[in-house]
C-alpha cells in the first residue's frame, strides 16, 4: 500500500532568546491509509511540533525544513497558501489537545461545524446542518439538532472534544492529526473518546497520527508507534514490537516508569529515568540520550547514531542494537 503521508528529513527550528533551538531534528515517518501511527514522547520531545509542522501551523518564530513532505501525492512544502488551505480541513485535519480553548467561544457549535463544511463543500446551509447533525450523532452526542445552537461553554470537556472530532471529520478527511486528544479529559471520558476514535477510524477508513505522552493511549489505539526523544525518533515499530520487544534504552525506560500489572501493586516503586533532556539549542553530536543511558558506550557520544533496522517494521536508533551482546538496560 502506498503511503498517504511521507515525511523525510523534517526539521523544526525555533528562534528563542538563547539561540536557535532545534526542536525536531531530521525526522522520517510515513502513514498508510487507514492506519494509526502514534508518536510518543515526553513534553519537549518535539512531538506536537511535528504534527503542527505537517499541518503548516507552526507558531511564529518556528521554521520548518523537510527533504520530503508528501500527502496524497502532493508536495505540502511546495503548495501555495491557498492550495494548502483547500487541503486542510478537507483531506488533512487536526484534533487539538484542549477543546475548551480550541473552539471559538463566540460562535455556536453548529455555526463552527457548518462553517468548515461549507468552506470546502459549499452547498446549502440546510445540507451543512444535516451533515453536522449526522456527525454529532455519530460521535455520540444526543439531541444533536438541539445542540447545534449551544455554545462551547455550555458543554462538558468530553462533549467539546466530541464536537472537535466531529468538526475534524466534517469533510471526511484521509488523515487526522490528533495532538494529545484525551489529555485534557477525565480518565473515564478518555477511554470513551479513544474507543470512539478507533471506531470512527475503521468506519471511515481514516488514517490517524496520534500524538501522546501516554503509553496506555498508544496501546489502546495505535497500529504503529514512533518513540520521540529530543527531536528525533529513537525507535519505531508495530505496537507488538514496541510493547513486546523494546530495543532502545529510552523506550525500555518508558516502560519501566509504568506501574507493573494492571492493579498496580501497593508499595511498588515506579521506575524513573535519571537525568534531564539535553538542551536542543546546541544538541549533542552523538546520541541525545547518552547522558541518561545506563548502557552508554564511548562511541555513542562521537557521531550521530544511525537507525538500525531490526525487522521490516522495527527500527531503533541505538548502537547497542548493532552490538547485541550488551544485554538489556536495567532500570530501578
Amino acid at each position: 500500500m502506498s503511503a498517504l503521508l511521507e515525511v523525510e528529513g523534517l526539521h523544526v527550528d525555533i528562534q528563542t532568546q538563547a539561540g536557535r533551538l532545534e526542536a525536531v531534528r531530521g525526522l522520517d515517518l510515513s502513514v498508510a491509509p487507514g492506519e494509526t501511527l502514534s508518536i510518543v514522547g515526553e513534553s519537549g520531545s518535539g512531538k506536537s511540533l511535528t504534527a503542527l509542522a505537517i499541518m503548516g501551523l507552526l507558531p511564529p518564530g518556528a521554521r520548518r525544513k523537510a527533504t520530503r513532505l508528501r500527502f496524497e501525492a502532493q508536495d505540502l512544502g511546495a503548495l501555495s497558501r491557498r492550495a494548502l488551505e483547500d487541503i486542510r480541513g478537507r483531506r488533512l485535519s487536526m484534533i487539538f489537545q484542549d477543546p475548551s480553548s480550541a473552539l471559538n467561544p463566540a460562535y455556536s457549535i453548529g455555526s463552527q461545524l457548518t462553517g468548515v463544511y461549507r468552506r470546502h463543500r459549499g452547498g446549502t446551509a440546510a445540507a451543512a446542518r444535516d451533515r453536522a447533525v449526522a456527525l454529532l450523532e455519530r460521535v455520540g452526542i444526543t439531541a444533536a439538532a438541539e445542540r447545534l445552537g449551544q455554545f462551547p461553554h455550555q458543554l462538558s470537556g468530553g462533549l467539546k472534544q466530541r464536537v472537535m472530532i466531529a468538526m475534524a471529520l466534517m469533510c471526511s478527511p484521509a488523515l487526522v492529526l490528533a495532538d494529545e486528544p484525551t489529555t485534557a479529559l477525565d480518565v473515564t471520558i478518555q477511554a470513551q473518546v479513544l474507543r470512539l476514535l478507533r471506531d470512527l477510524q475503521r468506519e471511515m477508513q481514516l488514517a490517524i497520527i496520534l500524538v501522546t505522552h501516554d503509553l496506555g493511549v498508544v496501546a489502546a489505539v495505535a497500529d504503529r508507534v514512533a518513540v520521540m526523544y529530543a527531536g528525533e525518533i529513537v525507535e519505531s515499530g508495530s505496537v507488538q514490537e514496541i510493547f513486546g520487544n523494546p530495543q532502545h534504552p529510552y523506550t525500555q525506560g518508558l516502560f519501566a516508569c509504568l506501574p507493573k500489572g494492571r492493579a498496580g501493586r501497593h508499595g511498588e516503586r515506579l521506575g524513573t529515568i535519571p537525568g534531564l533532556v539535553p538542551s536542543l539549542i546546541s544538541p549533542p553530536a552523538g546520541c541525545a540520550f547518552a547522558d541518561r543511558c545506563p548502557l552508554v558506550l564511548n562511541e555513542c557520544r562521537r557521531a550521530p547514531v544511525p537507525n538500525f533496522r531490526l525487522s521490516p517494521t522495527h527500527a531503533a536508533r541505538c548502537l547497542r542494537v548493532a552490538i547485541p551482546s550488551v544485554g538489556e538496560a536495567a532500570y530501578v
Binding site: 499541518m55 501551523l57 487541503i87 487539538f96 480553548s101 480550541a102 463566540a106
Partner: protein
C-alpha cells in the same frame, strides 16, 4: 438573559441615584445658595426671604427629595443667568453635542478598527509601528492645536470647510475629526492588543487548521472576540467625547453642552450645572448599560454570568 438585563438596569438606576446625591451634595458644599443668589448688596431680610422661597431652610433630606422629585420630571429650575428653565437650555444644546459625538465616534472607529486589525497581523512590523506612531501622535497632540492647524489648512488656505457655526453637516467635519483624533488611540490600542491575543489563540489556530480563508479567520473568528472590550471602551470613550468636547465646541463655535457647561460653571449658574451633570451622567449610565447589553448579545458567555 432576562435576569442579566434586570440586574444591569438595577445597577444603572443605583448609579444614577448615587450621582444625583453627589450632584446635590456638591451644590450644598459650594456655599449658601441664598447668599450667592442674592448678590453682595442684598439685605439680610432678602436673603432670608430667598431661603424660605427656595425651601433652603428645610432639613437636607427633605430638600434633596424635593429637588429629586423635580429633577425626575426634568425640572432643574431656572438658570440664574439666562432666566430660562435649565432643561430648556440643555435641550437646545444637547443635539449639537450628540451629533458631534456620534460623528467623532464614527470617524474614530472606521479609522482605528481596520488599522488595529492590520497592525495586529504582524506585531512589530511596519504597519504596526506606523499605527503605534499614529496613536502616540494622537495622544500627544493637543486638541486645540490640531483644530487650529485644520482651520488654517482646510478652512482658510483651501477654503473647503466652514470654520464655525452649525449651519450644515460640513460644520461637523473638522470638529468630528478633532474629536475622533482624541478618541481613536484608545480604540486602536484595544483592537490591536485584542487581535494579537485572538490571533495567537487556539481557536484561531483551529480555524486555520480547517482551511478557513484568512479574511474569515481574521474578521469572523478573531475580530468577534475583540468586540466585547471594544464596545465597553467605546461606550466610555463616547461619554468622554460628549463631556470633553468643550475645547472643540469653543473653537468651532458649536454651541453644545460642553460650551454651556463651561459658561454655567464660570457664572455659578447652579441649576444649569446640575442639569448638565445629571443629564450627562444619565447618558453615560445609559451608554454603559447599552454596552453591557450589546456585549451580552455578542458574547454568549456574558449572558449566563
Amino acid at each position: 438573559m432576562a435576569r442579566y438585563v434586570v440586574q444591569r438596569i438595577g445597577v444603572a438606576l443605583l448609579v444614577l441615584l448615587a450621582v444625583s446625591m453627589l450632584s446635590f451634595g456638591l451644590l450644598k458644599l459650594s456655599g449658601d445658595l441664598a447668599t450667592s443668589m442674592a448678590r453682595d448688596t442684598a439685605s439680610a431680610a432678602y436673603v432670608d426671604f430667598l431661603r424660605k422661597e427656595y425651601g433652603l431652610d428645610q432639613p437636607l433630606p427633605i430638600q434633596y427629595l424635593r429637588w429629586l422629585s423635580r429633577a425626575l420630571v426634568g425640572d432643574f429650575g431656572n438658570s440664574f443667568f439666562y432666566g430660562r428653565p435649565a432643561n430648556q437650555l440643555l435641550a437646545e444644546r444637547l443635539p449639537v453635542t450628540m451629533v458631534l459625538g456620534v460623528v467623532g465616534l464614527f470617524i474614530a472607529l472606521i479609522f482605528a478598527v481596520p488599522l488595529g486589525v492590520v497592525a495586529a497581523i504582524r506585531p512589530g512590523g511596519i504597519l504596526d509601528r506606523l499605527a503605534s506612531a499614529i496613536a502616540l501622535l494622537g495622544q500627544a497632540t493637543p486638541t486645540f492645536w490640531l483644530c487650529f492647524v485644520m482651520i488654517m489648512l482646510f478652512g482658510i488656505n483651501l477654503g473647503w470647510l466652514p470654520v464655525s457655526g452649525t449651519s450644515s453637516w460640513l460644520n461637523f467635519v473638522m470638529p468630528g475629526i478633532a474629536l475622533a483624533y482624541y478618541g481613536a488611540p484608545a480604540f486602536l490600542r484595544i483592537v490591536r492588543s485584542g487581535m494579537i491575543d485572538a490571533l495567537a489563540s487556539d481557536y484561531v489556530r483551529t480555524a486555520r487548521a480547517y482551511g478557513l480563508r484568512p479574511p474569515t479567520v481574521l474578521f469572523k473568528h478573531a475580530l468577534r472576540n475583540v468586540l466585547v472590550p471594544l464596545v465597553s471602551v467605546a461606550a466610555v470613550q463616547f461619554g468622554f467625547m460628549l463631556g470633553g468636547s468643550v475645547v472643540i465646541e469653543t473653537i468651532f463655535a458649536l454651541h453644545g453642552v460642553g460650551y454651556l457647561a463651561w459658561e454655567a460653571i464660570a457664572q455659578n449658574d447652579y441649576p444649569v450645572v446640575q442639569a448638565i451633570v445629571l443629564t450627562v451622567s444619565a447618558i453615560y449610565v445609559l451608554l454603559t448599560l447599552a454596552a453591557d447589553l450589546l456585549n451580552a448579545a455578542i458574547d454568549p458567555r456574558i449572558r449566563l454570568e
